[in-house]
Amino acid sequence: MEREFLPKIVSFLCKWCSYTGADLAGINRLQYPTSILPIKVMCSSRVDPVFVIKAYLRGADGVLIGGCHPGDCHYQDGNYHTRRRVAILKRVFELLGLEEGRIRLSWISASEGPKFARVCNEFTEVIKSLGENTTKTTIFL
């Protein structure tokens, strides 16, 4: 029997919001797939797009960046910068014919456990429909 495809989603989560949101989802026993591999960052703006490319090229099926809602960044405007960078990143992917859909930015506050679970579920479904990332088996990258 063929094994069901469980995506690997590298998730950069801001310590002040999304990471805590993820905790809350756990405490509340909300169900979300084990596809999420969380990495705690001090702010979403710590995520250099190069980290995303690295994850993508090393075979991550999806990359999620979680940050505080606009206006709520612990460092004032870090997340606005993140948003611009992600916009550029996605546009470059699109222009090169790469799958920009494998990259997602979501604002999830510390109290939004349910939103965290929803984003994880949704994104996992999206990635499942895209299938496995071919970078996994590409030997030249």
Partner: protein, 366 residues
């Protein structure tokens, strides 16, 4: 209407006379220009302070041995004014570097010209391009695209300088050998050109010849871009285009925009440990070594493409003949467009990744 000074000498002689005046009257301490090194017509950039050496100056020679914007950033700020003659794309590169605090505009008298393009760097075994020079200058007078010039120049739309104090009009000037048109764009220019002999006129730099050249180049660019995207799309496309890359990183070293002395891609930050390598190989069954070729190029595209001024040097130096600049110009135009940005247009225009608008990209973040 622009302020124009017409001098009854060939463009090159007129500008060298101008240099002489600047040096003699101590208005500048030096002239930064292209110069002939030897009889073989080797050419380099040089800062000339001795007026007796001005005979070697060939300011409009169609060759780019390095991006002059990058060179200027390395010796700016100067204590005393220096006059520089650089190409429009080099000037735009310098503006981008000034934005990045890699230089200042103070004490430079910026002289540029309508640029008809330059010839490729001669590599071993290449035929010298001197034989094209006479027909090159004839084409400049007509406003055509000369044979033998670099692909990047053939598709360049920004061949009229932005931010020059003085613009020398070359394209479409059929009397290039007997008269020189100098546009004095700024007060600084008028100040420096005081007592320089010439007839003052009111005229526009832009002309029907310039406009038709622009249309021609836009056409060429569209064709080139279409060809590129048809060949190079998706992950396979990236592998096709960069498969030959030997990872020398020459393209980023010569790039004026890649100014970081501690480039992330030159560091050991992304090295693979033995255990990671083993894991990669066991998953893939094989691994091209060294890895991270596409990683490097994608990274550079995302970090700096919006500031690419299209000088073409990356393609020039690539030992593997990869059309690096075609890709960077194409992607760069699009990423710049997202922010209505034109690299090198205005020193006050913020680099896109240093600013934001609260209301933009609201669709991201769901």
């Amino acid at each position: 209407m622009d302020r124009l000074m017409k001098v009854n000498k060939s463009a090159e002689l007129a500008i060298i006379d101008f240099f002489r005046l600047l040096l003699e009257n101590d208005r500048v301490s030096g002239i930064f220009t292209l110069r002939k090194i030897n009889k073989d017509d080797s050419v380099d950039y040089c800062l000339v302070t001795d007026e007796n050496r001005l005979d070697e100056a060939i300011p409009f020679y169609p060759f780019m041995p390095a991006n002059a914007g990058q060179i200027l950033s390395r010796f700016s700020p100067m204590n005393k004014p220096v006059a520089v003659v650089i190409k429009p794309c080099e000037l735009r590169a310098f503006i981008e570097l000034v934005k990045r605090e890699q230089g200042t505009l103070d004490n430079f008298l910026l002289i540029s010209y309508s640029c008809a393009g330059v010839f490729p760097i001669i590599k071993t075994g290449d035929e010298p391009f001197e034989k094209f020079l006479p027909s090159y200058w004839e084409t400049v007078k007509r406003g055509g695209i000369s044979q033998g010039i670099r692909q990047t120049c053939k598709v360049c739309e920004h061949f009229l300088p932005m931010n020059a104090d003085i613009t020398i009009s070359l394209i479409g000037e059929n009397k290039l050998d007997s008269e020189c048109k100098m546009f004095l764009n700024t007060d600084k220019a008028k100040e420096f050109a005081k007592d320089f002999e010439g007839e003052m006129l009111e005229e526009d730099l832009e002309s029907p010849v310039i406009n038709s050249l622009l249309t021609k180049r836009k056409g060429e660019k569209e064709d080139l871009f279409t060809e590129l995207s048809s060949k190079y799309s998706g992950l396979d496309g990236m592998i096709n285009i960069f498969g030959r890359c030997i990872g020398c990183h020459g393209c980023s070293r010569v790039c004026p925009i890649c100014y970081c002395t501690l480039c992330d891609f030159e560091s050991h930050n992304y090295d693979y440990s033995a255990s990671i390598l083993e894991r990669e190989i066991s998953q893939k069954g094989a691994l091209r070594l060294p890895p991270d070729t596409i990683f490097f190029h994608l990274g550079r595209l995302i970090h700096m493409s919006f500031s690419c001024i299209g000088c073409g040097l990356c393609t020039e130096v690539c030992p593997a003949n990869i059309p690096v600049s075609t890709l960077f110009i194409k992607i760069g135009e699009e990423t710049a467009k997202m922010f209505d940005y034109i690299p090198g247009r205005n020193v006050k225009e913020a680099i896109p990744v240093t600013v934001f608008k609260e209301e933009e990209f609201a669709e991201l973040g769901e």
